[in-house]
């Protein structure tokens, strides 16, 4: 063991693992995914002839050679949204809520809220 190994022990490196950078980057990448999806959806919406059930549901059931591409893209975008929201809401709790017990409770509730939303989104798209 060389003295430069800082992964454990009292002198381990507790910063610089880039957790913050990863979250920061993830929030921006998911933002770009959502922005692109939004624009695609707007184009599909405004180029369809009329707003009826068939044209609206057709946007999400659109397939590419039998592969349900829009279902997949919609689900990936929604997962991006939930991850983006997790980082954003966690930042809000970290900024305003100082007592650790309350903060951790809010973190857990936020995760449950977003996991619930993910399951609900999967259910909706699955049935289409």
């Amino acid at each position: 063991m060389s003295s430069s190994n800082k992964d454990f022990g009292a002198k381990r490196l507790t910063v610089g693992a880039h957790y913050g950078l990863m979250d920061w980057l993830a929030q921006r990448v998911t933002a770009v995914i959502m922005a692109v999806y939004t624009l695609v959806l707007l184009v599909m919406f405004f180029t369809s002839a009329e707003f009826s059930y068939d044209t609206w549901a057709g946007v999400f059931t659109a397939s590419w050679g039998g592969f349900p591409i829009m279902k997949l893209l919609t689900f990936l975008t929604l997962l991006s949204l939930f991850y983006h929201a997790w980082i954003g809401i966690r930042d809000i709790w970290m900024d305003y809520v100082k007592p650790t017990a309350i903060r951790l409770t809010l973190h857990v509730l936020t995760i449950l809220w977003l996991l619930g939303c993910s399951a609900y989104a999967a259910l909706i798209l699955w049935r289409l």
């Binding site: 549901a57 929201a85 954003g88 809220w113 909706i124």
Partner: protein
């Protein structure tokens, strides 16, 4: 620039450390600060209404019967007001988000252009929200 003027020549500014609620009401944020806090508020609002938005989406796409249920829900004035709030939140979050992405790329980070881009966020998102509101309430 002002950092280099001697302290005796600087004008006395009010100092705010640990703002309380009453001080927030009197504290006037610069325009980029308003973009930022509305970005946070709109994000929090959309987060809280996520299940309801998913419920509306579910009604709108599942079957033709639920599509009619969706149309009935959305025809209520109360729901329209909430939807308009959500539309504004999305538009603001979208425009402010693009501004933040550009700032992350070090585009427009000097004070003057940061203020201009903050004004641009409101200049785009508010009229679009008004337009959506007029459409939503059947003006055109």
């Amino acid at each position: 620039m002002s950092d280099f003027t001697p302290s005796s020549q600087r004008k006395v500014r009010p100092q705010f450390t640990n703002l309380n609620v009453l001080q927030i009401a009197r504290y006037s944020l610069p325009l980029p600060g308003k973009v930022s806090i509305f970005h946070r508020l709109s994000g929090a609002g959309m987060f809280l209404l996520l299940p309801w938005i998913l419920y509306l989406f579910e009604q709108s796409v599942t079957t033709e019967v639920t599509f009619e249920v969706f149309k009935a829900i959305v025809s209520s004035v109360c729901v329209k007001i909430i939807l308009l709030g959500l539309i504004w939140a999305y538009l603001h979050h979208f425009c402010a988000g693009i501004r933040f992405l550009l700032l992350d790329l070090h585009i427009g980070i000097d004070k003057a252009s940061a203020r201009q881009s903050a004004a641009a966020v409101f200049a785009v998102s508010v009229p679009l929200a008004v337009l959506c509101g007029l459409k939503l309430f059947g003006v055109f």
